[in-house]
């Protein structure tokens, strides 16, 4: 998500749906020799950077817990190489992020950062990490521009919004087999950007577009436009508050078109606002359903007493990239950065390699579906 507007209850309600033989993302997949470097990881820490308090805390806590699980598992398996976890609570605030980033740079034991969690704080903290040569891997920031700033320390393990849009268009065309798409956006950088990409990808099947305003509650003119266009699917680029109201008013007016939205709507707040009208909504997200990897799912549940939520698995992967590097003897920032840049390995969410901008080379976008008031995984969407 580009920035956070999250306040909702923890995303615990993800139902178990699919099962798959996930790999544990452990430390032996890449390693050819591990134990030989033992004893070199004294005073080594990786950091989590993102919100732990504030209105977006839930999303950040999901990510921190993924990192914490990876570190705890690592420490259990490597008694002679103990890595500690430093937490930098930015409250999701880009202004606080700069001071915290400077603080992280100043602590020599911190050699890798999982985060920053949101795009806004990534934007302000990014130059500081680049200056300090501290490698970062974000598990959740999706603003496409972040990787174009020339920060050689920046990496992320999930596809940005430029891959999510075409994926949504693919789903609409191939899975829903919709020939008439109506595209609505909320004029935000995130929503309008996504809607534009979907519109381009969907091409001739777009039968109409409209732009609403964030904070708007009456969508009757938009609903009228959707109905008179005869669309059989509606894509909405925006956040969950407006999405909930829009779909509820669509259903209230008898519009049956399938409602398709993106990761900004993947929140229980959407279901709360839309009620029964939310059922059948398709939500795309460049995030793996946590239940895809059973080992991870059960370990996470055991550790934190709750199911992993959005971006927990991505955070687990990001932390493991660092931890494997540390085990390989890369215990300073410079060599760890090199390790991350050259990294190639299987994570639990995907095969992880980074291109020269720090973008992941393998991207997976998943479609989720709302069923009986819960967001459940539907299927992976073919990208590119």
């Amino acid at each position: 998500m580009r920035f956070s507007v999250k306040t909702g209850a923890p995303l615990l309600a993800l139902a178990l749906a699919l099962s798959a033989c996930g790999t544990s993302g452990g430390d032996d997949e890449e390693a050819s020799s591990g134990g030989g470097e033992a004893g070199t990881c004294e005073d080594v820490a990786i950091g989590y950077f993102g919100a732990l308090t504030g209105s977006a805390a839930n999303l950040g806590i999901n990510i921190r817990n993924g990192v914490k699980l990876a570190v705890d598992q690592f420490n259990d398996e490597n008694a002679d190489c103990q890595v500690s976890l430093e937490e930098y609570d930015s409250a999701g605030d880009p202004n606080q992020a700069t001071g915290l980033a400077t603080q992280a740079i100043g602590d020599d034991s911190v050699i890798g950062i999982v985060g920053p969690a949101f795009s806004g704080e990534s934007d302000t903290a990014g130059p500081i990490f680049a200056e300090g040569g501290l490698p970062t891997i974000s598990a959740s920031a999706t603003n496409p521009d972040l990787s174009t700033n020339g920060w050689d320390t920046f990496h992320r393990v999930l596809g940005n919004d430029a891959s999510q849009g075409p994926a949504a268009a693919t789903y609409i065309a191939d899975v829903l087999e919709s020939e008439k798409v109506f595209v609505v956006d909320d004029a935000s950088a995130y929503g309008a950007g996504l809607a534009e990409i979907v519109e381009e990808s969907a091409g001739d099947s777009v039968v109409g577009t409209d732009t609403i305003q964030t904070g708007q509650t009456d969508f009757s003119a938009t609903v009228t436009a959707i109905r008179s266009s005869g669309a059989d699917s509606v894509f909405f680029g925006g956040y969950y508050a407006e999405a909930g109201l829009l779909v509820q008013q669509m259903r209230g007016a008898g519009v049956e078109a399938t409602f398709v939205v993106a990761d900004g709507v993947k929140d229980p707040g959407f279901i709360e606002a839309a009620g029964d009208a939310a059922d059948g909504t398709i939500i795309t997200c460049p995030c793996l359903p946590p239940e895809e990897s059973q080992d991870f799912y059960s370990a996470f549940e055991e550790a934190f007493g709750a199911a992993p939520a959005t971006y927990s698995a991505e955070a687990f992967d990001a932390a493991n990239v660092f931890l494997q590097g540390i085990l390989e003897g890369n215990t300073d920032r410079e060599s760890l950065l090199e390790w991350v840049n050259d990294y190639s390995g299987e994570g639990i969410t995907k095969a992880i390699t980074f291109d020269e901008d720090g973008e992941p080379e393998n991207i997976s976008v998943w479609a989720y579906k709302v069923e009986n008031g819960e967001i459940v995984a539907d299927q992976e969407i073919e990208t590119n």
Partner: protein
Amino acid sequence: MSFLFNNFVELTVTGLVLGAVYGLVALGYTLVYGVLQLINFAHSEVWMFGSFAAVWVTVALGVAPGSALPVVIGVLLLALLAAMTVSGGVALLLERVAYRRLIRLDAPKLVALISAIGASFALAEIMGLRDRVAGWIGLRDTLDPYVRSARDNTRFKNPLETEGLFTVGGYTVSNVDVIIIVSAVLMMVALDQFIRRTRTGRGIRAVAQDSEAAALMGVNRDRIIRATFLVGGIMAGAAALLYLMRFGVTRWNAGFLLGVKAFTAAVLGGIGNVRGALLGGFVLGLAENYGSALIGSEWRDVVAFLLLVVILLFRPTGLLGESLGRARA
């Protein structure tokens, strides 16, 4: 253009529904302005508290949609009563805390205005922090269904299912559409009669016309001011329930935008004019819908406010332009 004409009925009905809600909230602005020449900017929060009262009634009773008709009507009436009581109560509290002393001291209008804006923020934030407030008094868990997700949308579990009644010009008018428009007009007529015919109504008109002369004639000015706030609050409570029946959710800051629109409706109709408030609401609701249809939803506010400017240029006192004090008896 053809889109507007092809869907004219639908846009008109949904515009009138929205306008009815604007109009009922606008009454609160207009009444207080008529009596005190003061814009009560916290009135939007009076509405917001009423909307939560209605939501909480449905949460507490937990009535499923599609229940028997008497049950549905009973729940809705209870929600209406709760919304009116809470809104009326908040309006009275507002008068007591934010205004009374300032009015007695004859403070400049700007001071009262700032006081109102402050009260508006305070009330909205209290609702947005209601989970913490419940935590302080140790009832966070007991009150969970009422206070959770305090900063997100809260849904009104409407016991009444939306049903189409009849079709005109390709649009099926629903029971909710009819209920909202008819209730708004009825309440408007009732209020108009109240102000024209009752003793309190005469007092309101007298104070609006000349509060000192009214006091000399034996009108209790403080009591009349309280009555004015109370009536405005009750109307806002009714508006809150009607709004929820149509839009289904409320939130701690939902009052702001609606308040701005309702205030606009009051000015459009002629601030201080009770009939003008509802007319202004309808005109604004229609203008927003037609404007959206003509050039896209992102222009709805531009169209609505352009209309306001144009009307005020030619009729500076609004459409009906008659003050509360000069209403014929």
